[in-house]
Subunit: 87 residues, 2 copies
């Protein structure tokens, strides 16, 4: 399964969430991740995320697609990974 995950997490918790997400998915921009993941691993990720999140203010949106080919990705401007390498 191919997913795009975007989080909106309070500043105090964002470092932990970033570290967690990096273990399961590929970072592509700011608070946006993508990658192939199994249902089981995604459940694991969500479970661990819930332990870090403040459920009244934080949110994560996950878009799931059975196949990556159903999604076409286009980038306008700088390729965010390039920026990641510079920083």
């Amino acid at each position: 399964m191919y997913v795009i995950a975007v989080y909106d997490i309070g500043e105090k918790r964002v470092g932990k969430i970033l570290k967690l997400f990096r273990r399961y998915l590929n970072w592509i921009q700011n608070s946006v991740f993508e990658g192939e993941i199994t249902e089981v691993k995604l459940l694991e990720l969500k479970g661990k995320a819930r332990c870090i999140m403040e459920m009244e203010t934080d949110s994560i949106i996950i878009f799931k697609s059975r196949q990556e080919k159903w999604l076409e990705k286009e980038i306008v401007g700088i390729e965010p990974n390039e920026l990641g390498n510079i920083l």
Copy 2:
């Protein structure tokens, strides 16, 4: 065509980009938008975005899917629109 668009734009320009994106897509979280859009309207949006963006630092990622049903959306934590209504 159904798209998810995420931008990473310098602070000085982010207000303009937000306003522009709101005219074409639905805001769902932070710098994340989604919605049905035609190829022509998407071209228009990208053209206008390029006029605002600093191409060496800013970026927009657009995920396109021919059909919305190919994507399943899941939210963990607060529904971002609820938060939007509160703020």
